[in-house]
Amino acid sequence: MDFILLSILKTAIAAPVLLGTLAYLVWIERKVLAHVQLRMGPSRVGPHGLLQPIADAIKLLTKEDFIPSYVNHVYYWLAPWLALMFAVTAISVLPVGPIVEIFGVKTNMGQADISIGLLLILGLTGMGVYGIALAGWSSNNKYSLLGGLRSSAQMISYELPMALAIASPLLIVNSLNLREIVNGQAGHVFGIIPNWNAIGGLQIFSFIIYLICAFAETNRIPFDLPEAENELVSGYNTEYSSMKFAAFFMAEYANIITACSVATTLFLGGWHPIIPNELGGQFIPTLICFFFAGVLFYHALNPARPSDRLSMGVIGAIILGLGLLFQVPVVKELAQPLFWFASKAGFLIFVFIWVRGTVPRFRYDQLMRFAWLVLFPAALLNLLLTAFVVAAKSN
């Protein structure tokens, strides 16, 4: 009974947070991309366009849900929700913090703590391709079909090196449970260098291979062939409108969050701090918040626009309060791991956006060749070497 209540409670917290993050990820992407490209980005709705996601949501909800007469209705309806469902479900097994005790209840920070967490994530992201493939096929549009075909081939090809890249840290930890994988990366070598998989040893290669595959799995530039708007108009989602289109959009961003969180969990030590707590690591979140609050206060005092005086001040005060929160005894236990996890995953997400602003797109055959002739052998070799190292260590 406790378990059910707790699960419902956690879902009630996690679902809005996730959806909010999804919405604001779009805002962040648009802002970061805009600044890469010498633009302002959203700036009209609310201060600094902060209410843009809400405006977008209202727009997409109230748009006419146009369904072309020639679609295959069952799969056309199913595809976007399938894509979104798999993308969002995968997040449920990710641990964002250690097991904590709140009000006498011991619980893990994360939805489900299952022994095959990683397998579940692999399975769910693998299923995600069905959403896109079905959308491309059921739309009965030639551009969509090409997009669907490309994405099926691409995602299946990149699944392989991705799974192999994930397998190497598994060998080291010897568990599929994500929490145990994170705990295997606890502590610091020589008391200063984080004992993460991505630092030191062979796992840096696994990390790089995983990250490249993640770009392909989430259909991001330079691997955004399924929706290459300059070739296939909009690819698999050409015929979708209104909330069904939004579902694909959200699925894409949920996939990015999942991919970055998995990378954080497997390779970047999950919620463990970058600087050991003995050396003052626990003050880092507060200091970072203070720094950003300081920057915002400076802009509030020297506003570029009259409205900045208020908006920058208020946001600065919120961040300042957040920084203080990291030092409050009980909250600290929850907030600090969350901060480290979010900042690592957030950095990876930033890399995703940064890459989008920098590189062109692959060609279809080049992408496949890259997967099978470069990534796959590299991942295989990496796995083999890791196995040797693990075997040598255990003997």
């Binding site: 010498l38 920098t358 590189v359």
Partner: protein
């Protein structure tokens, strides 16, 4: 209206040959056909078996309209032929009419024409680079190039009052004297732009994805290129240093020292490299034009052709009469025909102008580079992938207004 939507053919019967082809309609509304080009692609999977370009969606009948307008009114139509290289079109038409009239253009006007034509070349190449890179997914390039293009458009606006449809170069000289202090923004642009070119190249030249997408793609035998009349950067990227500025110098280009960049690879990357080098050469020409800018008037001494100055009109009777005659009757161009060629950013731009001695042209035909360059498309994209066709179309750098007229 009754329901007329027909069911699409879902299960195509295999052809006798055994392959199942898909016909894909690329355009006229497509993000990468740069306007309203329609290409009917016969696809075998991702590979293009056959491509049939269909032009004419932007046909505006400019050539025919020219016959209904006065000689000096036609200039506004030439802007709209190739809206990315309007000053080249102004120049070409003006040169043709001036040849028929036998006018001598003062050196300052000639230098300014060269300067503006070269800035137009840079302007056009910037749009090409931005959209070409955007087509291949390098979105940021588009914004970088349009940042510099904005400077150029400001310069054009300063000269003519218009950003796009300048109509600045007219038969007999220039529409207006350049405004005071016009050198300043041009010099600022000259000082700044080489760094910006380096910035573009640093983003693209060492980018393995860009190189893979462009090298060895879109090769057409040189003979075939010459056969269909491909000119400009495309033919120069195939190793033939064909450039109207060198071969048939006009407007005093023989006084300038510049190179004609060529490449031998004849692929998409070679065309990119040639155009990048051309922008640097254009900068050299602009620099020389600035340094050697002669003093003097910007309009020829021809009362029957060139509108008099406002001041003279207010004080001199003859000037007022000439103004009245030119505006109401137009200018009478001696009987004859002429073919004038200039090197537009896209290649050889020719105006074939026929006069019957009246105040309106009998015929104005434009030999536009976009039309000729587009003729190579079917053979260029055959047996290539859809993604390649996007890269190739970008490298052709056609403007549909220029193509359809």
């Amino acid at each position: 209206m009754s329901e007329t939507i027909t069911e699409p053919v879902l299960h195509q019967e295999p052809e006798a040959g055994g392959s199942r082809r898909m016909t894909l309609n690329m355009g006229p509304q497509h993000p990468s056909t740069h306007g309203v080009l329609r290409v009917v692609l016969e696809l075998d999977g991702e590979f293009i078996e056959k491509a049939t370009p269909e032009i004419g969606y932007l046909h505006t009948g400019i050539e025919k309209q020219c016959e209904a307008l006065n000689w000096q009114q036609v200039i506004t139509l030439t802007d709209r032929v190739d809206y990315l290289a309007n000053l080249s079109n102004n120049l070409c038409y003006s040169l043709a009419v001036e040849k028929l009239l036998g006018l001598e253009i003062p050196p300052k006007a000639q230098f300014l024409r060269v300067l503006l034509a070269e800035l137009t070349r840079i302007n056009s190449h910037l749009v090409w680079l931005g959209t070409h890179a955007l087509d291949m997914g390098a979105m940021t390039m588009f914004f970088l190039t349009f940042r510099e293009r904005e400077d150029l458009l400001r310069i054009f606006e300063m000269f003519s009052g218009q950003r796009l449809m300048t109509s600045y170069i007219r038969p007999g000289g220039l529409a207006l004297d350049p405004p005071r202090g016009w050198e300043k923004p041009v010099k600022a642009f000259l000082a700044d732009f080489p760094n910006k070119l380096d910035e573009y190249e640093s983003l693209l030249n060492a980018n393995p994805i860009w190189l893979r997408r462009t090298k060895g793609i879109g090769i057409l035998p040189v003979e075939e290129m010459l056969e269909v009349g491909i000119t400009g950067p495309l033919i120069r990227a195939a190793g033939i240093p064909m450039d109207a500025r060198k071969m048939t110098p006009y407007s005093g280009y023989e006084k300038f020292d510049f190179n004609v960049p060529t490449a031998t690879e004849n692929d998409v990357f070679a065309r990119y490299a040639v155009r990048m080098a051309e922008m640097r050469e254009s900068l050299k020409i602009v620099q020389q034009a600035l340094e050697g800018m002669p003093e003097g008037p910007t309009r020829a001494e021809a009362h029957r052709v060139v509108l008099p100055e406002r001041e003279k009109m207010k004080t001199q009777m003859e000037a007022l009469i000439y103004h009245f005659k030119i505006v109401t009757e137009g200018i009478a161009v001696p009987e004859g025909e002429i073919y004038q060629v200039v090197e537009s950013p896209r290649g050889e731009l020719g105006y074939y102008v026929v006069s019957d001695g009246s105040s309106k042209p009998l015929r104005v035909h434009m030999r536009t580079p976009s039309f000729a360059n587009l003729q190579g498309l079917p053979n260029l994209v055959e047996k290539r992938q859809i993604s390649d066709s996007i890269a190739i179309m970008g490298s052709l750098d056609f403007v549909l207004g220029d193509c359809d007229r």
